[in-house]
């Protein structure tokens, strides 16, 4: 595998060790007694357990019974042909910070795509702002990875954030749901709930990765300033003192709390990151700790 502008080869090799875990898998091993109802799914032996009354007799290992005179039930784990839908916010608000939030988000998207393809999962990347970008329907082909990387590199920030509208549109267009990884700064005054709910209603496992710049997390502004919104270009005149800065911090925490509460209630995995955290640390540490990859 050749490196790209986004990643070096060493990092890509580290990524190959990981695979994206769907929420169902992370909940626990899928037992063999569950019928595979989706095409492309198979079962493989995982473990034994003692027979209990009511267990399906078809899964008793009669060979063991013959040798050990003990009733044991075979347990299978589900090996699902998983579709990973990476939804990347490319609105103008992502085009800020050092490094750019956009580049940071692209690297996360590329890394997740790389992990997914090497785990033989189907992966697709779609950008969104106030409209949907080119939709890459999830595929498993390794050759597709190059074109996805090129696509990621070619994406330029533009438009305003329309989080709800974009996710609703996407959930309506996609035929086969899977794990939806939404990467965004979520700076949308219209909220985020409806968009995420539309994915949940379509049976997506939703992972929300919020990327914020250091300037957003702790703005070093003071005095009389005119803040120009990068998307709406509407100026906001403020006299920022220490109290105002404290209130900003409080409001930011409140906002995070709202997102966390919503995600907790709706079983959405939510991870927040600042753009100064090295991408390797974020992927290898935070995603693994959060259970996104394993």
């Amino acid at each position: 595998m050749e490196g790209s502008l986004l990643f070096d080869n060493n990092f890509l090799r580290k990524l190959e060790k990981f695979s994206i875990l769907s929420r169902k898998l992370r909940k626990g091993a899928v037992r063999g007694e569950h019928r595979v109802i989706r095409r492309g799914m198979s079962t493989e032996f995982h473990d034994y357990k003692d027979y209990n009354r009511g267990d399906d007799l078809r899964y008793i290992d009669w060979n063991i019974y013959g040798r050990l005179d003990k009733l044991l039930i075979k347990i299978f784990s589900g090996e699902e042909d998983q579709s990973v839908h990476i939804l990347l916010d490319t609105s103008l608000s992502m085009n800020s910070g050092k490094p750019l939030k956009m580049d940071y988000a692209k690297q996360i998207a590329g890394a997740l795509a790389y992990i997914a393809v090497h785990s033989l999962d189907r992966v697709g990347i779609t950008s969104f702002s106030d409209r949907m970008g080119e939709i890459y329907i999830p595929e498993r082909r390794l050759s597709r990875l190059f074109s996805m990387f090129h696509y990621l590199e070619s994406i330029e920030a533009g438009g305003s954030t329309a989080f709800n509208k974009a996710l609703k549109e996407y959930s309506g267009k996609v035929k086969r749901p899977g794990t939806a990884v939404v990467i965004s700064d979520m700076m949308d005054p219209k909220g985020f709930e409806e968009g995420l709910l539309s994915l949940i209603y379509r049976k997506f496992d939703v992972v929300l990765l919020q990327v914020l710049s250091e300037e957003e997390l702790s703005p070093g502004l003071s005095g009389s300033v005119k803040l120009i919104d990068s998307e709406s270009k509407i100026p906001l005149k403020l006299s920022i003192d220490k109290k105002y800065t404290r209130e900003y911090g409080t409001e930011l925490e409140n906002w995070f709390g709202t997102i966390e509460n919503f995600c907790r209630k709706k079983n959405i995995d939510y991870i927040r990151s600042g753009n100064r955290i090295p991408i390797e640390d974020f992927l290898l540490k935070f995603l693994r700790q959060g259970g996104m990859i394993g």
Binding site: S93, T161, S224, D229, L238, E247
Partner: protein
């Protein structure tokens, strides 16, 4: 309005300085941010943020208040009246015709009287102060009528009738009420403590005026000669030099230079030989504010009144008394 300390007005230069500082401080530095979403949320929750312009106005107001307090301003005519009835005396005597800075003292007095009426909450009565005094309007609390009455007061060439007017005012005012006089102060009257007297000066406090306040002839008994009794009063704030001319008809019969001290009264007695059918005219020659009171006249008529007493005979004592008089 009297300004006690004019130099403090230089502090008004602070106002443009504050405005300049405000402009410099408010010069907005533009920052492009990814989103103003969180800032907007904070701003919405901030309920009590004063607009910058209001802050500037408050600062200017504070400066103005400090300057005005240091300027030691006096507003002598704005005496707040209590609810009780008040008698407002407006002087329209001759001295009120003096014009200072393009405005007569009477006009100034009228303006100050109107201010008093506007600040009053009780009933007010208005009396003019010339001799004889005149009640312009009786007690009323209708300020429009009172102001109309004040405006109707006309100037006169009469002397000041302070004593008479104070008698009327003292009799009319209620025990809790007050007597307010708007005048140039050209009178010699000291109100008693019980009068509850308030004085508002009209015109400039510094005066320069003298005048003939008494001028009358008395026939000397048993001769054709007369004596002229004359009083010159000073209303000036400093001593005044003047020349007095006394003429009979066109002939100057007496002339002299005199000096009168401030607020003093100078009596004169001049003997005048028989000047039948002539006008005796006295004139003060000086440069003062009011020329009207600088001259006075009397007329000696050849047709003298004869006094006749009808007496019936038989009154012994009266007959003896009349016999002792010459010409009877």
């Amino acid at each position: 309005m009297i300004v006690g300390n004019m130099t403090v007005f230089f502090l008004f230069l602070l106002i443009p300085l504050v405005i300049l500082l405000h402009i410099i401080m408010r010069r907005m530095e533009s920052h492009s941010v990814s989103s103003t979403y969180i800032w907007e949320r904070v701003k919405i929750k901030r309920k009590y943020t004063l607009p910058p312009v209001l802050l500037l106005l408050l600062q200017i107001m504070v400066i103005v208040l400090i300057i005005l307090s240091l300027a030691d301003l006096k507003v002598p005519f704005t005496i707040p009246l209590r609810r009780e009835n008040s008698v407002l005396i407006i002087d329209n005597s001759a001295s009120m015709n003096v014009v200072e800075k393009g405005k007569s003292r009477l006009d100034d007095a009228k303006e100050k009287a109107i201010n008093v009426i506007r600040g009053s909450s009780g009933e007010t009565m208005i009396i003019t102060c010339a001799s004889p005094p005149e009640i312009i309007i009786s007690y009323t609390d209708k300020s429009d009528d009172l102001i109309k009455a004040v405006k109707s007061i006309e100037n006169t060439e009469l002397s000041n009738g302070i004593e008479e007017v104070m008698k009327i005012a003292s009799a009319s005012v209620t025990p809790e009420g007050s007597i307010i006089m708007v005048s140039d102060g050209a009178f010699n009257y000291r109100p008693s403590e019980t009068d509850n007297f308030k004085f508002i000066r009209a015109g400039n406090e510094k005066k320069k005026n003298i005048g003939i306040t008494d001028f009358y002839l008395r026939e000397i008994t048993g001769s054709d000669s007369f004596e002229l009794y004359m009083t010159v009063s000073s209303f000036a704030s400093e001593k005044t030099e003047f020349t007095f001319q006394l003429s009979a008809g066109d002939e100057i019969i007496k002339e002299g230079d005199y000096v009168i001290e401030a607020l003093e009264t100078m009596p004169f007695i001049f003997p005048i030989e028989s000047q039948a059918d002539k006008e005796i005219h006295g004139r003060l020659i000086t440069d003062d504010l009011l020329q009207t009171d600088n001259s006075a006249s009397a007329y000696i008529s050849s047709h003298r009144n004869k006094r006749i007493l009808l007496v019936t005979p038989g009154n012994f004592f009266l007959e003896k008394a009349l016999e002792s008089l010459d010409g009877v």
